[in-house]
């Protein structure tokens, strides 16, 4: 499914300074029963965000009106666990377009790239700087520049570059997905398949 193009994103960030945030926290399994991709944002971080009677937990960051923005900033090893793309969908559907962390789980990172959420991996030191900047001023603006592959805390000018492979970068910039690419080389795939023994 094609998605919005990603170029330069300038917004405030929502801090979640917890390590090993797994996909069961991002979206618990009991909310995976849809047959269409819609409405997942309502259940993003469901059990951290709501009590069992569905009242909001006041101390959770998404319920704190001080924090808003389209960048989610998480602790090390973000997105570990299950392969459920619903985790990335929930993040996108809630309104985030970018997740920043010092380390991402593999499948989660791929899922994000496939649906138009940009995973930005920064050094542990820079991650700490972002957390401190948001703590000092929740409206602090962060610029994620995909063409230049940089992330900048605008007020202080502190910045760092990040990696993304050339192919995925082009996809994100243009809103293309992998299936568009694969369908274009269909004949090559069919030829390969014809020679497979299994």
């Amino acid at each position: 499914m094609a998605y919005d193009k990603f170029n330069i994103l300038t917004t405030s960030g929502v801090p979640l300074p917890i390590e090993n945030v797994d996909t069961d926290q991002i979206i618990p399994a009991r909310f995976l029963k849809a047959t269409e991709r819609k409405g997942f944002g309502d259940n993003l971080f469901r059990d951290w965000r709501y009590n069992s009677d569905d009242s909001p937990k006041k101390d959770f960051v998404l319920n704190n009106p001080k924090y808003s923005g389209r960048i989610l900033v998480g602790g090390k090893n973000f997105g570990s666990g299950s392969s459920r793309e619903h985790a990335a969908w929930a993040i996108y559907d809630y309104g985030f377009r970018c997740v920043v962390s010092s380390f991402f789980a593999d499948i989660f990172r791929n899922n994000c790239l496939n649906i138009g959420v940009l995973p930005v991996q920064v050094s542990p030191e820079f991650l700490e700087k972002i957390f401190l900047a948001i703590e000092a001023d929740p409206t602090t603006q962060i610029e994620v520049n995909l063409p230049e592959q940089t992330i900048t805390i605008l007020e202080s000018g502190e910045h760092e570059s990040f990696d993304i492979n050339v192919y995925k970068k082009a996809n994100m910039l243009n809103g293309f997905d992998d299936i568009d690419y694969l369908l274009n080389i269909k004949e090559q795939i069919q030829e390969f398949a014809a020679n497979r023994p299994l």
Partner: protein, 472 residues
Amino acid sequence: MSTKRTLFDKVWDSHVVQHIENGPDVLFIDRHMVHEVTSPVAFLGIKNRGIKVMHPEKTFATADHNTPTINQHLPVQDPLSANQLKALEENANAHGISYWGLGHEKNGIVHVVGPEYGITLPGATIVCGDSHTSTHGAFGAIAFGIGTSEVEMVLATQCIMQTKPKSMRINIEGTLSKAVTPKDVALYIISQLTTSGATGYFVEYAGEVFRNMSMEGRMTVCNLSIEMGARGGMIAPDEKTFDYVKGREFAPKGDDWDKAMAFWKTLPTEDGAEFDKEVTFDAANIEPMITYGTNPGMGIGISNGIPDAESVEGGVATYKKSLQYMDFSEGDSMMGKKIDYVFLGSCTNGRIEDFRAFASIIKGRKKADNVTAWLVPGSHKVETAIKEEGILDILNEAGFELREPGCSACLAMNEDKIPAGKYAVSTSNRNFEGRQGPGARTLLASPLVAAAAAVTGKVTDPRELMEEILAG
């Protein structure tokens, strides 16, 4: 650069349709398993593009994640689950894909039935929208979990775009001690490497311990590769592998078998091949394991105490949050902790060998009154073996009942949810917050440790009960 190649290199390289400079490889997929939860949006995607499944004969569908484990002959009560199951059946029928739904004799957990019917083969590439697809690596296949967009890719083109991961070899030499099972080996490795220690890598397990392991045991180890962040894990195919595969329904036959065998025998890693990372452990250091926290890396030998926050890698705040969730304290002994539930099952430990191990401990004993036990076979084939081998009688005499196959309380998508605040000793794969139900507290362990807990009502070293058996 060494010209010697690894098992992983050989399987990966033989499936590359196209290499994109500074980008991913286009990787051909031999076997695609689909289930009801992660496939509906992918089928919707190809419908919207107006295309059909390219290779329905390489795609296999089974219902497992949200299915009930009692009264499977009745309509599924939860309307959302019922709707997903209906969607899977309709999608499978529309595209000519084999569908093993509820009540079908071949139904079961996707990673249990794949090997049982010879869908899983050495040297193959196998994907499924489920992170425990790594299980199939036990046969020397490259098998890994994918997201729904990637499921759509495979349905549409039988290919996936992936950057080749780095390689890691984990060697364990020596002999395992009494009551140390493949599950303990895996939990030990994860506790040493942490829950993200193998992220970015594809793992090969090598050494005496894995060579001596049964195919079921190898599946348990490879299954848990994802819990240390690895995309997958694999073990070189050997005679044990070939004996397991031979004669199974979807395995090659006749000349095809001979050709396949000739290829499979070329697969093992060559001497001198280099890995990006290599770690070695000693089998003698592994004892029965149990987890105390909220990720699978938080495991200890069952006779040890819970580590201090300062002694573990990672943030102190995250560690303390985890212990608070579990209502445990640093320094606590795990032994003797009262438990409420026991879950035997899942793609990690829902095979016949796991039920044999469980039965060996509970035989002649009684289920503890304070324990609710859910024993869930991984498939109908496992269920049949449990009955034929007389294990069901042993279970029933000890006060246990057998449920019907499915993923069940491993991820609690169906009714099998551990209540908030309750403790479950579980043979599954994840102890994340709320994994087995909102507020549930999970202690991951082997079938032997689960059985010891089931008959004593608390965390108990299974070796104590095995000694009683020997003495008695």
